[in-house]
Amino acid sequence: MPEANLQARAVSKRYGTQRVLDQLDLSLSPGQTVCLLGPNGAGKTTLLRVLAGLLRPTAGEIRLDGAPLDFTHSAARRQFGLVMHQTYLYEQLSGPENLRFYANLYQVDLSEGSLQALLRRVGLNPTRPTPVRAYSRGMKQRLTIARALLPSPRILLLDEPYTGLDMQGCQLLNELLQQERAQGRIILATTHELSYVLQVATHFAVLARGRIAELFPNDELSLDALQSRYQQLAQPVKAEARP
């Protein structure tokens, strides 16, 4: 398995006059599962989209394996698995049909057996023919996770992946992430479900004021310790500025 190294170098992103990301540096290595923390609106989703090559940064660059990530060719993008707020699913197609559709686009050979195995891996019934329109939010979430895994991506970018998942689903996702990490994947996830992510994260990164305030390892942190560390990093200046 080749070493994959994903780097953001001095990445800035402005929307008009609003600076969302400001000279941000971040380096991710294989086998790391990094949890990105930050207040609402801090730019976590923006950062994920820039890393995936979907959003062009105003300044700075993304490097994959030492070479700049070419924004125009998605051959490199096939190495990414994305789970975002939107489901990326086609409502009139069934679960298996959605997966076969994306498998065809990715040019991945999806045999009936692998399809069923993949669906079982995310806890979905492999034989269900109902259209996605009839799925619950949690089921859609499981399906889109399966969709992200189709090209066996080296890099997983997950934006609030626990959304809609019940307790069983959350545990299943954790198992999945641990399996992927064992295979040497790079995983970056944003979430507010601190109790769940504590079980799988190797590192935590706090995004505040457009940059990574700190990247620290998960050394047997308790939930309280993590929360206080996060509060500290995310809001210090505001607390002092008010008299």
Partner: protein, 237 residues
Amino acid sequence: MLSKNKLLDILTILTVVLFFGVFAMVLFYAPIEVNMGLVQKVFYFHMASAWIGMLAFLVAAVAGVLYLVRRNPRSDYLGASSVEIGLVFTAVANFSGMIWAKPIWNTWWTWDPRLTTMTIMAFTYIAYLLLRRAMDDPARRAQFGAIYAIVGFATVPLTFFSSRLMRTIHPTIFGSGETDMAMNAPMYQTMAAAVVMFTLLFAVILWHRVRLMAARQHLAGLQAARDEAFDGGGQHA
């Protein structure tokens, strides 16, 4: 860039002078046309305005290409300004055309190729401006504007040829054979002067408009930076 620009000031004054100069030419130097009478004098402004309407669209399309290639915001300002100004000149061309047409052909509107094409071009301009208004992110707004300007400009010659294939009652000025409007040397000279003056007018207004846009953006940037500093670098919306 934002300080007073000497060249622009000189050109502005020159334009004003030329405007009055050409106006005088039209009134006193150019003779009264044999067939159409005094109202024909509208033609000089009408034709010059129409020419500028076309030129403005070309500028917008070129600015669009430049923006897609280099992503320089100034290209976007240039394109948007050009469309705004071009729309005004096209409206002037249409109205002056109508003023001219009514006494001569006894109709306000004629479905003739040039008029039709200019009007459709005006609708394209308006669509461009509406498209920009419907977009919040400045970078995407510029991108979409550029694309629409390019596509819109590409359809103009096609629209012209289609409408020409349909019918013509627009007076032919330069052609041989039937000429509805008898032109002599002083009239050609006045026409040329009008075109030159209008082109300069367009360039000067365009330059002013682009500077205004750039200044506005700059101001907005300063305001945002000030707000951020005051907030202590707090949450972004």
